[in-house]
C-alpha cells in the first residue's frame, strides 16, 4: 500500500482524540484503511440499547470517493438490507470529500433514529414499516435485543 494519505492519518487521530458519543471507530491493525466501528443505537429509537458493529473501508480514491460501510450486526431497518448494506445518499451520489468518517458515522447513527421507508433497500422491511409501523418497530427492537446486545458485540 502506498503511503497512507495524511488526511486519513489526521482523521484517525482526530477520531481517537475526539471520539463521537456513541460511536467508536478503530482502525484495523493490519490495514489502516479498514475500521472496526461500533455504533450505539440512538436513544428514543427501536435500536436503543443495541451496539451495532459495522465495518468501514476507505477506498484508494478516498476522500474523492465515499467510504464503504456495512453493518456486521443484523439489524431490522428499512434502509439496511440483510447483508448489512446501507442505503444512504452520502455513501453514494451525495458523497463529498468534505465529509469525513466521523460525519458518515453520525449520518448512519441518524439513519437509525430516522428510518426512511420511502427510500428502501429492503423492500419487505420497508413494507412492514409502512403498513404497520408499530409492529415493525417491535420487530426492530426484538432484533436489537437478539443480535445487538452489548455483550454480543464484544464477543464477536
Amino acid at each position: 500500500m502506498a503511503g497512507l494519505p495524511r488526511r486519513i492519518i489526521k482523521e484517525t487521530q482526530r477520531l481517537m482524540a475526539e471520539p463521537v458519543a456513541g460511536i467508536t471507530a478503530i482502525p484495523d491493525e493490519q490495514n489502516a484503511r479498514y475500521f472496526h466501528v461500533v455504533v450505539a443505537g440512538p436513544s428514543q429509537s427501536p435500536y436503543e440499547g443495541g451496539l451495532f458493529k459495522l465495518e468501514l473501508f476507505l477506498p484508494e480514491e478516498y476522500p474523492m470517493s465515499a467510504p464503504k460501510v456495512r453493518f456486521m450486526t443484523k439489524i431490522y431497518h428499512p434502509n439496511i438490507d440483510k447483508l448489512g448494506r446501507i442505503c444512504l445518499d452520502i455513501l453514494k451520489d451525495k458523497w463529498s470529500p468534505a465529509l469525513q468518517i466521523r460525519t458518515v458515522l453520525l449520518s448512519i447513527q441518524a439513519l437509525l433514529s430516522a428510518p426512511n421507508p420511502d427510500d428502501p433497500l429492503d423492500n419487505s422491511v420497508a413494507e412492514h414499516w409502512k403498513t404497520n409501523e408499530k409492529s415493525a418497530i417491535d420487530q426492530a427492537r426484538q432484533w436489537t435485543q437478539l443480535h445487538a446486545r452489548a455483550n454480543n458485540v464484544n464477543s464477536h
Partner: protein
Amino acid sequence: MTTSSGMSLSSEHVQRLLQCAVCLERFKQPKILPCQHTFCLTPCLEGLVDRRTRSIRCPECRADHFVPRNGPASFPNNLTVIGFLELAGPAGEAVENMSRNQVVETLHQSSRVSELRRPQRVSSPQQNVQESAAADGSGCAVCRGEGRVSRCCHCDQLVCEECRHFHMQQVKADVTRMISQVRRGLPHISEQIIAVGRKSSQLQSNCEHVKSDISEALDKHIRELKARERTLREDVDNFLAGELRNLRAYQENAEVEIASLSSFCDSVESVLSMSRPIPDGDLVEMRGQCQEHLESVQCYEDGTIRPPNVKMIQASLESPFLSSTISNYGDLIITSRAAPLRQTPDDDPYGRTPLPYLPAINYNEGSSGFSVGLQTESRLAASPAMSPGTSRRLLLRASDTSGFDDGYQSETRAISPFLAAPRTQASSPNRASQVRFEEESRMGDSGWANQGSQTHRRSRYDRRSDTRLASLASVRGPASSQQAIDRTRHLSLVTLPVTSEFDSEPEDSETAVGRLIVTPNRQEGRDDHVGGLPHAASFPGARSFNFLPPVLRISAAVREDDESPREPTPEFNSNSPSLYVSTPRNKYNQKGTALVRFGQRGSDIAQFTWPRGVSVSPMDDSIYVADSSNHRVQVFDSTGKFLKTFGQHGQGEGDFDCLAGVAINGLGQVIIADRYNHRIQIFDRCGRFQNAFGSEGSGEGQLNYPWGLACDNMGFIYVCNKENHRVQVFQSNGTYVRMFGRLGTRPGEFENPHYIAVSPDNKVYVSDSSNHRVQVFSMYGDFLFTFGTCGALRGQMKFPRGIAVDNQGFVVVADSGNNRVQIFRADGRFYSMFGGWGNENGQFKGLEGLAILTNGNIVVSDRENHRIQIF
C-alpha cells in the same frame, strides 16, 4: 505538555479555519469557489474536477461550478485566507504543533481506553501512522514535523522530541499495563502449581493403588502356587505312603514266611534227628509239607513271588507357557484424559470396559483418578492357570466328584464333540505342573489309588489319547466376565489352561454370547485350597454350561468410531483385547527397518527359492520357513541362524511339492500345507514325519491347493483352501471337523483365501486375497466382521497375504500388492504400516507369510527377493 494549557480556544479555532476541508491541512494555494467555499488548489480542487462535464462540485455545499478553461487554477485566490496564513506564520506552526501534541496525547488516552476492550489493538493507529510516515521518509515519523529528530530506541523510528516524549510515555503506560496483566496472570500460575501438586499426589496414590493391586493379584497367584506346591507335595507323600505300605506288607509276608519255613525246618529236623522211629504216615505227611514249602520257596526263587516293583515318580514341571505367561503377565494401561474435571464417577471405565474376555482390572474405582489429568488405568492379565482345582484330578480324590466329572463329560460330548475339548483339557492333568505316575507294576493300580478312581483314570487316559493335543495345548478361556466389584482376575491372553468362571450376573449370559461357558466343577477342590478368594464367588455347584449361538453383529463390528462402548455390549467381536490396549507392546510404529535379513535365491542351505509361509515355534522361537520351490522346510533361530532343514520334492511321506503354509501347534508339531500334493502333513518337532491327511477334491476334508494354515490353542488346524475358496477345520489328528466360506464377495465368502491366523481369543482372521480384505470369524466359522478395501491408502490393501495376530490382538497383514506390512487393531482399525517396493532393507517384492516372534518382532517372507526379513 505545559504548553498545551496555554492554548486559547480562539487560536485553535483560527487554525481550524485555515484548514482545507478536503485535505484537513493548512491551506496551500487557497482558491475560492463561486459558492464562497475555499479549498486548496492541489490536490483537493484538482481532484474534484469532473473531466467529462468540466464541472466541479463544492465539497461543502455540493454546488456545481463550471471549471474555467485553464482548470481550477483559474479560480480566484482567497486573499483573505492567504493573508491569515502569512499572518499566522511561524506562530501558526507552533500552534499547530501544540494542537497536534494534544491530539496525539488524547489519541494515546483513547487508545488506552480502547485497549481495555481490545487488548490486541495496542496503539495500532499509531503504528499505522508511523509506518506510513516512515514510508515517506520525511522528518518525524509520527507528526512529519520538520523539527529535530532522533531515533527511538523502542521502535527504531525517527521521531521528533515531542512525539518521542509522548511515545515514551505511551511505552511507560504499556509497561504499567503489562505489569498489571502479568500480575493478573500470576494467580493462574499458582493455581496450576497447586493443581500440579494435587495431580502428583493423586498420581502417587493412583500408582500406589496400582502397585498394591499388583501385589494383591500376584500374592493371590503366589498363594495359588503355594497351594499347588502343597498339593503336589501331598500327592507325593500319599504316593510314598502307599508304596511304603505295599512294601511293608510284602516284607511282613516274607518275614512270616521265613519264620514259618524255618520253624517247620527246625521241627522236622528235630523230629528226624530223634532216634525214635517215625511213623510212616507222619513221614509221608512231612514230605508233602516239605514239598509245599519247597514250592513256595521256589516261588521266591524263580520269581513267581517277587517284591513289589518300586514305582517311579517324577515331577514334570517344565512349562514354557507358564514362564512366558509370567513374563507377559499383567498390562499397565496408561491413558490420559484431556478434560478430567468433566468426568463424573459414573464415567468409571468399568462402563467403558464391559468386555467379558479381558481380565481387565481397573485401578480407578471411584472418581479420585478422574480429577487428575493423567489417569493410569491398569489391567492385569491374571491367570488362574495354577488354580489348584485341577490338581484334584491328580489326586483322584473322592470318587463321587470324578463321577460327576464323567457325567459332565459325557453330557458335554453329547452336545458337541467340539465342546469336549476345553472340558477335556480342563479335566486332564494340568500340564503346567503335572505329576505323572508311571506305573511299572503289572499288579495294576491297586497301590495308592483307590478303587473308585480307577475307572475314572482309565477314562481320562482314553480321553487323552483322543485329544491328546487338546489336553496339552492350552485353552484360552471361553468367556469370563469382568467384575468390577470382585476384581476377578481371569486368565491372560497368553496360552494357559482355562479356568472359566460363571458369574451370576445376568449380563454375563449376554456378554458370553457365542462363547462356551464351562462351569468348572472343580470349585470345591479349589475351595479346599484357596477358600475365600474371589473365585469362590463363582457358583460352586453349577455344573452346566451355556452354549449360545454366536451372534452376527456386523454393525457392531465396524463400529469403530464409537467412542463410548460404555454399555455392557453383548457383541461378540467387541471382546477383542486390543480394544483396551492403548499401545501395542510390540512397538509397531517404530518398525520399518529390518533387524535381520537372511536368504537369497538358491537351493543351498539358508537359501530360498520363493519362500512362502513362515511360522514361529512357540517352544523355542525358531522360525520355520516354507522354502516353496525347493520343496523343503528350513528352520532358523530367531536371529536367522540356520538350524536344520527337512523335506524334499516328491509325493511320499515327508516329501513336498511346492509347500506353502507352515504352522506349529502347542506341542511343537509342524503342520505343512503341501500345496501341489493337496494334503496336510504333520511332523514332530524334530522334523520326523508323523501324519498326513487330505486329498485333491472339493468334498469334505478334501483340499484343492491348500495354502496358509493356522492352529488354534486347542490344536485345531485351520486350512485356507485357496482354490476351493473356503476354510476347513481339522482336528490335530486330521479328522475333518467343519468348513466355512465359498466363492463370492459377500461377507463370509472368499476368493482365493491365502493365509489365516487365530487370535488369542480364538477369532479366525483370513486374508481374503482376491477380495482385498481380511475377514474375521468366530472359531465356529461365524462371520464377525471384515476390514480393508482395495486400494493403497492406509487401511486399504491389495491382495493381502500373510496374516498374524499378536498376543494383544493386533493384526499384522502382509499387504502384498502394496508391498507393505500393515498393522491393525483387533477390531480392524488401522494402526500403522511400513515397507515399500524394492530390494533394500525394509522393502519387499511380493510378500507372503508372516509371523510374530515372542519378542514382538515380525518375521516377513519376502518372496521375490527370496529372503526373510525380521522387523
